[in-house]
């Protein structure tokens, strides 16, 4: 994975595979604290403490019917965060869901870039229309705080029987995310 947004896509796919119906994604660019924080919270099937520990082991996968029993998604994300002075935390409760919190040191010279957050978010929203997403982008420095919020449930209510996959709706979501990412200074992080 070349950037954080690709890891984020991978993590959200995990949530979808864990049968999540609501996924909350927060990206917080806190210049004051010199920290880039990613939080993904889902209401999927969750993991017990044994599986939770195993998930961080590269030679474990929850994917059945696989010849190669490796699962590199979580271990690589963890490594990429910890390598640059960040932290990686996963908490889970069987039957209730999983919360993942990853912190990166913002000005660390070897930190991977945030990457194309817009395409990651658009992909998961359009690719899994049976899941509702709450996306929260926050930029914070000494002088100001700027927020962007997108809730697919609200969009769906406006749309009635028109699906999220209708071309004009895709364009609307794409454009909203683009504006939100610009307003929260996330395009070049």
């Amino acid at each position: 994975m070349q950037d954080i947004s690709l890891h984020l896509l991978d993590i959200i796919e995990n949530s979808v595979r864990a049968e999540a119906k609501n996924i909350k994604v927060r990206v917080i660019n806190n210049v004051q604290k010199n920290r880039l924080r990613i939080i993904v919270e889902d209401d999927g099937i969750g993991m017990d403490s044994h599986t939770l520990e195993k998930a961080q082991d590269p030679f474990y996968t929850s994917k059945l019917q696989r010849e190669k029993k490796v699962g590199l998604g979580i271990p690589l994300f963890k490594q990429n965060a910890e390598m640059v002075g960040g932290t990686f935390k996963m908490a889970s409760e069987p039957g209730f869901g999983t919360v993942l919190t990853v912190d990166f040191t913002l000005d660390h010279i070897d930190r991977m870039p945030l990457g194309n957050l817009k395409d990651t978010l658009l992909n998961v929203i359009i690719g899994h229309t049976d899941v509702d997403y709450c996306v929260h982008l926050i930029y914070r420095d000494k002088a100001k705080e700027q927020c962007f919020y997108l809730d697919t449930k609200a969009i769906r209510e406006e749309l009635g029987d028109i699906p999220l996959t209708y071309p004009d709706v895709i364009e609307y979501i794409d454009q909203s995310l683009f504006e939100g990412i610009q307003n929260t200074n996330m395009e070049d992080v």
């Binding site: 796919e13 899994h128 028109i162 071309p167 504006e179």
Partner: protein
């Protein structure tokens, strides 16, 4: 700034459109979005499908994504599922190949056999 009010206009237009063509899905495109697929560029592949389909206004084509299914060495992998026809799986995809598949397979109905890695279920 995009607001929820913009969605009302889209909804009205879409409802007219649906009345005309019935809202059927003719082809479903399913992009493999497992860890290996993502690392090999599946996100760009899906984005290109969305762009090409929007540019041609193909509102009867649905783009979705799935996990991986054991074709890791051929990622990014894409399934084309058409009503009443065997499933076609394309492998080693990239944005240029996507453009060709949209024109040849989705618009003109000719399978791009050079990129096919599996067919049927």
């Amino acid at each position: 700034m995009k607001t929820l009010a913009d969605l009302k206009k889209i909804r009205e237009k879409a409802q007219e459109d649906m009345k005309l063509r019935g809202g059927n899905v003719r082809i479903k495109i399913s992009v493999g979005m497992g860890t290996s697929g993502i690392a090999m560029g599946a996100r760009e592949v899906m984005k290109t499908f969305l762009e090409e389909i929007a540019a041609r206004n193909l509102s009867d084509v649905l783009v979705t994504q799935t996990g991986e299914k054991g074709l890791s060495s051929m990622e990014p992998v894409v399934d084309l599922i058409e009503e009443g026809k065997p499933k076609v799986t394309y492998g080693n995809m990239n944005p240029d190949k996507v453009k060709k598949v949209v024109v040849e397979h989705i618009v003109n109905g000719r399978i791009v056999s050079d990129y096919v890695v599996a067919t049927g279920d």
